[in-house]
């Protein structure tokens, strides 16, 4: 699949401190790629380097095969983004802001402006000054301005920060709609694990300025998934059978299910063993969460 964003050994040093170092990322067309990391991990620094706000100390960035630091027009005309919080010209209306900012990429018509405002639910406020907007409305207006130039890649830096639960849900749904219905590639940074679990197809984990894991979310979570939850009936009989299997360790059991630890790749075998003994297996799923994964991969990462 075509690579729309690629970074190679990307690094940024401020004085003696490296904010990001040796960042190798690859975002493919159609991905909802999440860049996960705690606050201060180097997510925004990386995004700023990708979008030319910061000059990299080391490494290169390629957007659609072009280096935005050298071939700006070719690289950035297919990309749009919001870095940190979306800020607009407060003394201008929403529609005027979109017209002005959109015109930096291409000629924008009034109909196009109204169309993107409708998509983010701001039609009624089109002619109001942005200074009267709430944070959530500015966030939606930020997405509207990103959509206005019809980009192939949208880069969003913590797009749900500061939003209320409904606002977060709206933004997540919008992101999924853009990816699935309009075929846009989304690069999303976040420190919210739940957000990434809900929307991402691929991800990279950054910690202390370095990428510590990268790949498809399902692959990364399945790699070392050894803890499982079982919903079975009858529980007591299932427990007896499980205890006879030397490669299974029972972690906990209750009226509704059993928690077990398996040797890698033996989940199907456990299921078969239970079913052949007449146990009804309603569910067998890895208990491992993104949070577990994140804590594991970031544990012991070196200082840079």
């Amino acid at each position: 699949m075509e690579s729309v964003l690629q970074t190679c050994d990307l690094g940024k040093r401020f004085g003696k401190r490296w904010a990001a170092r040796g960042i190798d990322l690859e975002v493919r067309r159609g991905d909802i790629f999440c860049f996960l990391g705690p606050n201060g991990a180097g997510k925004s620094t990386t995004i700023r380097m990708i979008l030319t706000l910061l000059k990299p100390t080391t490494g290169t960035v390629q957007l659609f095969g072009k280096d935005p630091h050298k071939n700006r027009v070719a690289a950035l005309s297919r990309v749009c983004g919001i870095v940190e919080k979306p800020d607009f010209y407060l003394y201008l209306s929403a529609s005027k802001n979109l017209e002005l900012l959109g015109s930096l990429t291409r000629r924008i018509t009034g109909d196009e402006i109204m169309e993107v405002l409708a998509r983010v639910g701001l039609t009624q406020r089109a002619h109001d000054k942005v200074r009267t907007f709430s944070h959530g409305m500015k966030q939606r207006l930020g997405i509207a301005q990103a959509l206005l130039t019809r980009p192939e890649l949208i880069i969003l830096d913590e797009p749900t920060t500061g939003l209320d639960p409904q606002g977060m849900k709206d933004v997540r749904e919008l992101i999924q709609r853009l990816a699935h219905e309009e075929g846009m590639t989304i690069f999303l940074s976040s420190h919210l694990l739940s957000e990434i679990e809900q929307v991402a197809t691929r991800m990279a984990v950054v910690h202390r300025g370095q990428v510590v894991a990268q790949g498809a979310v399902s692959d990364l979570l399945a790699q070392e998934a050894t803890d499982y939850s079982l919903q079975v009936s009858p529980v007591k009989q299932a427990l007896k059978i499980i205890k006879t299997l030397p490669w299974v360790t029972v972690l906990a059991s209750g009226d509704k299910g059993i928690e077990v630890r398996l040797e890698p790749d033996r989940a199907a075998e456990l299921n078969k063993a239970l079913c052949t003994k007449g146990i009804e297996v309603f569910a067998l799923y890895p208990r491992r969460t993104l949070e577990d994964f994140f804590l594991k991969v970031t544990k012991g990462a070196p200082e840079i």
Binding site: L53, L54, L76, F88, Y91, L101, S103
Partner: protein, 280 residues
């Protein structure tokens, strides 16, 4: 919309842009009204040293005289108004956070900076032209026309310029005034490109202008030697158009020095801004 149109629209959509025009209008209006009321005493005190040797008759206090008189204060108040916009034009994007939208678009930083610089120059020219038109229109309405008789400040001489020559000289003087004020705009622009807020560039520019004006007027040999290199010295080049015979060479030299200042200041601003890391 062109980048220049984009910048000009933003600049002229802000009410603070018009503060300068409003205050300038007030200054001109107040000065001309006071002059209208007390013209006789003012002219009397200005011409006192010459009254023993000359008989001065006719409409001395006319629109041209008033305009030239008010122009003498040009290098005090206009620089402040110029810095209000030129010192804010780049740095305000960082303060407002809009720089993060602006600089991730296809146009290069240099092109954006060019558009902003052109807008700052456009505003500067607009301000001086507004000042000129207001002075002359109000002056013609309140005082009428006539020959220009001027006492050059700090000199024991009176300059007489016939009415027919004045419009062209006045036009050239205002063109020179625009040119001199562009250096203030360039200086403020440089500070604006370096800063992340607007206060620093505005105060910094005014501090530089005031310091150079003070140094240039201190009766000390050290500063007297340096005075020809101060841009503030050459900012008064417009006065050359009210000499008995226009000293084209001196005016040209001053214009060239100011132009070199403009080029150097803009070049440094570009160099800094192109390499600047946007952390705001």
């Amino acid at each position: 919309m062109t980048l220049f149109g984009f910048e000009a629209y933003k600049t002229f959509s802000r009410w603070r842009t018009y503060i300068s025009f409003g205050v300038l209008a007030l200054i001109v209006l107040m000065t001309e009204i006071v002059m209208r009321v007390s013209a006789r005493e003012i002219v009397g005190s200005m011409m006192k040293p010459f009254q023993r040797d000359f008989i001065i008759a006719g409409n001395i206090v006319n629109a041209w005289f008033i305009t030239a008189f008010i122009m003498n204060s040009l290098h005090f108040h206009i620089p402040f108004f110029v810095t209000l916009v030129a010192g804010d034009i780049v740095s305000s994007e960082a303060t407002a956070g809009t720089v993060r939208f602006l600089l991730i678009r296809p146009p290069s930083r240099q092109r954006i900076l060019n558009a902003k610089y052109l807008t700052a120059l456009f505003y500067t020219a607009g301000l001086v032209i507004f000042f000129a038109v207001l002075c002359l229109c109000l002056g013609l309405a309140l005082f009428g026309s006539g020959d220009l008789i001027m006492h050059r400040l700090g000199q024991f001489s009176v300059v007489f310029i016939p009415e027919a020559e004045i419009p062209l000289r006045m036009l050239l003087a205002f063109v020179a005034a625009v040119w001199s004020m562009t250096v203030v705009a360039s200086l403020a622009f440089l500070f604006s490109a370096m800063a992340e807020n607007s206060i620093g560039p505005i105060i910094g520019t005014m501090a530089v202008v005031i310091c150079f004006l003070i140094f240039g007027n201190l009766p000390l040999d050290f500063f007297r030697h340096l005075k020809p290199f101060f841009f503030t010295t050459h900012m008064l080049l417009w006065q050359g158009f009210f000499d008995r015979s226009i000293q084209w060479l001196a005016i040209g030299q001053s214009a060239l020095i100011l132009g070199m200042h403009n080029a150097a200041l803009f070049f440094i601003a570009s160099l800094i801004y192109r390499r600047k890391d946007i952390k705001s």
